[in-house]
Symmetry: C2
Subunit: 249 residues, 2 copies
Amino acid sequence: MPLTKGTDELELNLSVDCVIFTIENAGLKVLLTKLLPEMNWMLPGGFITKRENANQAANRILKFRTGVENIYLNQFQIFSDPERFTFSLPIQKGVLSEEDSAIIEQLPKRVISIGYFALANFESIHPTGGVLEEESCWCDIDELPELEYDHKQIINEAILSLRKEVYFRPIVYKLLPEKFTLPELQSLYEVILGKSLDRGSFQRKMLRWDIFERLEERRGGVAHKRPFLYRFDHKKYQGAIEKGLNFGM
Amino acid sequence: MPLTKGTDELELNLSVDCVIFTIENAGLKVLLTKLLPEMNWMLPGGFITKRENANQAANRILKFRTGVENIYLNQFQIFSDPERFTFSLPIQKGVLSEEDSAIIEQLPKRVISIGYFALANFESIHPTGGVLEEESCWCDIDELPELEYDHKQIINEAILSLRKEVYFRPIVYKLLPEKFTLPELQSLYEVILGKSLDRGSFQRKMLRWDIFERLEERRGGVAHKRPFLYRFDHKKYQGAIEKGLNFGM
């Protein structure tokens, strides 16, 4: 039970929780793990140490809990309800020794969590269960199981932040092949936004962002329906990532 | 010295800092306060109590420190560098009694701060200095004095968040009179964004947001230059505030 070891190195009222999204089979999915068989599914999370900042903690904990690394995590919101978390949950579930339980009773009554999210390419990440060899799964956001603590709320807020972010920054980049068509790009946005988009206004908007380069090639298929291929203009894309898309202002 | 009183009620490693923006004389300004004459200017901030969430703390502290209330505060980022803050600053500056200094030495070595920002109407808020009767001032963001701790960084990050937010939500609403012209709206955006905007594309964008109603009236002035007056369509505006502007998607 790692919670009770080395606690003097941890900020025991400060945790991070990581919401890792991916797209698979035209569904938006989130990475969940199970710390103990007796507990419900949870987001991978943990405590900040006294010597690291929150971003460092989020990256360390994601790797420790799931084996996943090298993902750009966006800090999006903190969760600070005084009643949101209790250390005594594993005690209530009867999964701790008396000795561990006694240690846990000494811990802070209240923990604030800093939420992080990322949008990752399904092919490129392989959760290993991390050092704890946890069970993990990708779960469709429309079919979430019962989750521990306020983790369903954290996921819902992360979805809102993700949907806002895709309007502001072209963060879908890593989910696309090098060359793609505008209908393929639109499908990706539709999965993330959870709604159908008008083809004409979507394409006008995307081209107005001025970060794509239209190639001479077209995708194969029926002749009059063969859409042009595009790719990101990396220089313009980098500028947009740094400054945010300015929507023509 | 309130830091040393009632500390058992506080989360002593968790603070909030409030960046209150306003526009005055065509400049974007931020509210600063001075806790002690010997210290530099600071953002109004303080510690979260054990029984409140971060939003409640931010509102309470803003009122306590500056007298300002009823402002919608946006949580935008946390500041978690392990070295960012030290309780011993007032000790170093020699402004504490020996007794208070001894108490402070017992406090946590590291404090994480949760940053909030708001954009408020200059006419409507009147900093009183709060319960502590602090000195306060509105300072142009281009002429910031030396600030305590990492407060200059917090302000810079808040400016980025504010600029991002005005693209996503029509939060400038409260800074405008009931009826306004598009050039007046543009001036407001130019002050907030810190740059000149193209008149044509600004107006197209604003009208595309579909939250304004054009009136039959025009602003007085030279006949052929008299611009139409607009006002917010409150129902559409409310929808946009809740869902975010969707930029036509």
